[in-house]
Every structure is written in C-alpha cells, then in structure tokens.
C-alpha cells in the first residue's frame, strides 16, 4: 500500500503546513505597527473606554490564548468582524472568494487550451519559423509580470487601440454569462499568460519526445495514417506531463491573482486583502491571508495527488 502511505503522508504534511501558516499569519498581525484600540477609538478616548474595549475584544488575554480562540472560531467559520466595514468577515470573504474562483477557473481553462495548443503546434512544426516565433513569444510571456501584461492588454484591447473589452470592473454572474465572460476575458488572460507559456513549453518537449519514440515509428511503419498516429499515439503519451504540470501549478495562480485584481479593479479576494492592508484592518488581513494561504496549500495538495495518480513513477519515491 505504498500509494496510500504517500497520500496519508501528504495529508499530514498539508495539516502541518496549515498550522505553520496560521501561526505566521497570527504572528504578523501581532507585530503590526499601530495600536488597534487607538485606531478604533481615536486618540482622545478615555482610559476607561480603552480598558473596556480591550477586554471586549479579548486583547488582554495572552497571545497563545488569543491564537487558539482565533483558530477555534475560524475553523467554525467565524472570522471576526471587519474593523472598517463593520460587518462579519466570513460572508464578505466567501463572496469575494467566489468571484476570484470564477476568474481563476476561466484562466485555468485558458492555460489548458492555450498551453496545449502552443505545445502541439510548436512541436509539430519543430525547427520551422512557426516554432521559433511562437516559442519566442512564449519566452517573452514567461518573463513579464502580470502588471505589465495586464497594462499592455488594456492599452491594446480596452481603449488604447481597440475598445473590445472593458478596462476594469466585474459585475458578477448575475447579469448573465455573456457579459461576465466579456469582463473576465482580459483579467483571466493576464493571469494565464505565464503558466500558459510554461505549459506550452512542457507540452512541446513531451510531444517531441513522443514523436521520436519507437512506438510512433512502429505505427508509421505499419502505415497508420499520420493524423491517427498523432491522435492515438502522440497525444495520449505527451499529455501526461502536461496535465501533471497543469495541476501542480494551480496554486501558482493564487499569487498572480492579487496583482491581476489590482490591475483590472476586480472585486476578488486579492483586492480585499489590499484594501485590508491599506486600511490596517487586522482581522480582515488575517482572514484574507489565511484564506489565500489555505487555497494555495489545498490546490497544491490536489495537484500533487492528481500528479501521483497520473504518473505512477512518482509513487515510488513518496514524500
């Protein structure tokens, strides 16, 4: 039961990481400059008021106790109240996470479709001008940050040259799928570029390997038509590394999404986090950071498990 052992190990590791993450997030807000009480009450509050609020918010308890309280209620879905917005964080966070998830999903589809197409085309035309141009553009794509690609997209497609897409904003899925996708297109494209180029390169390499393999040569010698060689023999074998890379990097998008949401004024969890930082809203910072880190850790877990399932060779090493 080697496979079961590595899954259990991986789950335990994830739990450990989550514990470390929550400790770090808590420590950060402990070290946050600026006294929360003076922030809420202002500088001219009486000593009595300060003492009452400190007790009310549980700030007079020792740090370890506050950490346990915080984690305890977070596990039960209570993330406290936002200082600036004066509303429970959980509902707010869920809604923003939903919108971010929609954005990330669209980007993921783009990465999968775009990356595979890039990889297949460059591999089938290996060494030709088509390969060189596409590979070159993909190389540039990996070396640019999201705020640059996003800005360039806005300049070209959202007002500068063409006005095909809105430069910012997102109204949610309530207005229908069409308008939502129209607003999602540029942010999702921006979020997907780096990973798309990476997936493209991996697919290119594995497709070229498959094209040169003995089984493809045998199939060709048997007289199997070329399209059938590609769909039956090349693609199934070439796509194992592609899918592995695709899923192992879902978590990678979590970081990029913060910048993308800032560029396109997209009301997701990334912008909520930036808002919280700008406003020094520490319960909100804690909640956002914890949520982002948890999404990252879990998507890495899912990615690893899927990779394990797809590629039996990984199972031997375990973790």
């Amino acid at each position: 039961m080697e496979i079961l052992k590595s899954i259990v190990l991986r789950l335990g590791y994830t739990a450990l990481i989550l514990l470390c993450v929550s400790l770090m997030v808590f420590a950060v807000t402990e070290l946050l400059p600026g006294n929360v009480i003076t922030m809420i009450l202002g500088t001219d509050a009486t000593e009595e008021e300060v003492r009452r609020l400190t007790a009310l918010m549980g700030l007079d308890l020792p740090a370890w106790q506050r950490y346990l309280n915080w984690v305890g209620s977070a596990v039960q879905g209570d993330l406290g109240t936002s200082l600036r917005m004066q509303q429970p964080i959980s509902g707010l966070l869920l809604q923003r996470m939903g919108d971010s998830l929609v954005l990330a999903s669209v980007a993921f589809v783009m990465v999968a479709v775009g990356g595979i197409l890039i990889g297949l085309i460059t591999a089938l035309f290996e060494g030709t001008r088509i390969d060189r141009y596409i590979s070159g553009i993909a190389a540039i794509g990996t070396s640019l940050p999201e705020f640059v690609t996003g800005t360039v997209f806005v300049l070209i497609f959202a007002g500068g040259v063409f006005s095909w897409f809105p430069p910012s904003g997102y109204g949610g899925l309530a207005n229908g799928l069409g308008p939502a996708l129209h607003q999602l297109f540029l942010p999702a494209l921006t979020l997907s570029i780096v990973l798309m180029a990476y997936v493209g390169r991996v697919t290119r390499t594995s497709t070229i390997d498959a094209l040169r393999s003995d089984y493809v040569r045998t199939a060709r010698l048997k007289g199997v038509p070329e399209w059938k060689v590609i769909t039956r023999h090349v693609i199934p074998n070439a796509f194992v590394p592609t899918v592995t890379v695709l899923f192992m990097n879902i978590g990678w998008m979590v970081g990029g999404i913060v910048v993308v949401e800032a560029v396109f004024v997209f009301p997701g969890i990334g912008r909520l986090m930036l808002f919280a930082i700008a406003e020094r809203d520490w319960p909100l910072i804690q909640a956002c950071a914890l949520a982002i880190a948890a999404i990252y850790v879990f998507s890495n877990l899912v990615g690893d498990l899927l990779a394990l399932w797809l590629n039996p060779r990984l199972r031997v090493e375990g973790r």
Binding site: V28, L31, S143, P145, E146, F147, T151, V154, A262, I277
Partner: protein, 271 residues
C-alpha cells in the same frame, strides 16, 4: 570562453550592461530633476525637450525612467544579495553535511516555500513598513528557499568528488570545504540561478511597488511609474510604454543569459 562567441549571449549581456550604465549615470544624464513638476506642459507627447513626454504633473518621463532604473536595479541586486546570503550557506551546508542537518534545513525551506510568494512578501512588508530596505528583505526572504535548493542540488553533484575527500583528510574545516571547494565547483549552476533570481526579484519587487506596498513617493521605480500612469495611460500611452519597455528589456536578457549559460554547462549547442 565559448559564451563570448554566442551572439545571443553577447547581445543580452550588452543590453544588461547598458541598463547598469544608465542606472549608474541616470541622475546625471537626466535632463530634468525626476520630481520637477511643470504644470504648463502636462501629458505632452514625446518631443525634442521631453524625449519620452511628460506625465499628469508635467514631470519628464525620460528623467523618471532613468532615475527609476537605479531604484529598480538597487532593489533587484539587494534582494538577490539577501537571497544568496541565506541561500548559499544553507544550500552548501545541506549538501555537505547531509543527514539530519540537510533534513532540518530543507524542511524549514519547505515551510517558507509553501506560502504563495506574493502573500509571504506582503506579510513581511506589512510588518516592516513600506520602504526600500523592507522591500529588499521581503523579496530576498521570499526567494531564498529556492536559491538554497538550487545551491544544494549543484553542490550535491560534486559532493562525492575525491578532492572533497582529500580536503577532509587534510583536516580542513567545514566552512573551508563548503566555500573554497564545493562552491567553486558548483559555480556554474549557481550563476544560472543568480541570473534567474535577479530577474524574478526585479519582477516581484516591481509588482510590490505597483501595488504601492514597496518604496513610497516621491521615489519611483518602473513598477510605481506604471501604477502612477494608470489613469492617464489611454490618453497618454507614453507614460506607461517607456517604463514597460525598460523593465522588459532588463528582464528578458537575464533569462536569455541564464539559458545560454545553462546550455554551455550541459555541453549542448543550444536550442
């Protein structure tokens, strides 16, 4: 050196040197003070006086890009220095001592790496407050586990060599063997890592500045310039185009150079 005969490598190195020169002499070359506002000529297009045009406060974009370049390179190299200050000893020690030391060091690095890079940097910047030093430390800390892993792998490849054994037999200290024997033999892959890390450090730092969490006005790097020009970029595209052009031409050569050095190390002829 075969690399000097590689045309792509030479061109990339030349562009990189040009960037460094512009950064060093930028303030001296700049035709205007980078923060001088001229309200008579706001958002004017590129012309003979203002080569890259002016921004919404009438500041000369050319001068701002030149001075911003210095800021960009300072935090780029600074962050990589932090990265290697931590990553190099950790990676070398992991490879040299192996066993428990290796296990412990790599687990710590794993925990650091299990945070999304941007989030970890954000948290560090929140604690340290937004300025140049915090930015350098934040980006350096975020990336040091990756550097440590690369150094470790590179050093492991030469760990079993006879000259390491010889040095141990001579009774050399661990530090001596790590830095005088292991490091020089593993310098190739480490150089590749340096180029890649520098490019990522510049991109991550510029992203933080774009988000307004790094250096603060009036200082401005290329990330901050793009951010400042957000509201005017459709009317005055030159306010964003030039910073974007400069950051792209700084980062792309680093990637190309890393690729070429890597090809040389593998003994291949390059793709």
């Amino acid at each position: 050196m075969k690399l000097l005969k590689d045309r792509v490598f030479v061109i990339a190195a030349a562009i990189l040197s040009l960037h460094v020169l512009l950064a060093v002499f930028g303030e001296w070359l700049a035709p205007f003070p980078f923060d001088e506002m001229q309200f008579m000529s706001t958002l004017s297009g590129p012309d003979a006086t203002h080569w890259f045009g002016t921004d919404q406060y009438g500041r000369d974009v050319f001068s701002r890009v030149l001075v911003g370049g210095k800021t960009t390179l300072v935090f780029g190299f600074g962050a990589v220095a932090v990265c290697f200050l931590i990553g190099l000893p950790v990676g070398l020690a992991s490879a040299y001592y192996g066993g428990r030391v290796d296990q412990a060091l790599m687990r710590v690095m794993d925990v650091l790496m299990s945070f999304p890079t941007l989030l970890l940097g954000l948290l560090i910047l929140i604690i340290a407050g937004p300025d140049m030093v915090s930015l350098i430390v934040a980006v350096g800390l975020v990336y040091c586990p990756r550097t440590a892993r690369i150094v470790r792998t590179a050093a492991l490849n030469v760990r079993q060599s006879t000259y390491i054994e010889a040095a141990q037999a001579r009774g050399e200290s661990g530090a001596y063997i790590m830095f005088r024997e292991l490091f020089p033999s593993a310098v190739g892959p480490i150089l590749v890592e340096f180029c890649i890390r520098l490019s990522y450090a510049i991109l991550l730092g510029a992203s933080f500045n774009y988000l307004g969490l790094g250096i603060q006005p009036p200082e401005a790097d290329w990330g901050a310039l793009v951010q400042e020009a957000r509201s005017t970029m459709i009317r005055a595209p030159w306010t964003v185009l030039f910073p974007i052009l400069f950051i792209s031409t700084l980062v792309a050569p680093l990637h190309l150079m890393a690729d070429r050095i890597d090809d040389q190390l593998k003994g291949g002829k390059g793709a």
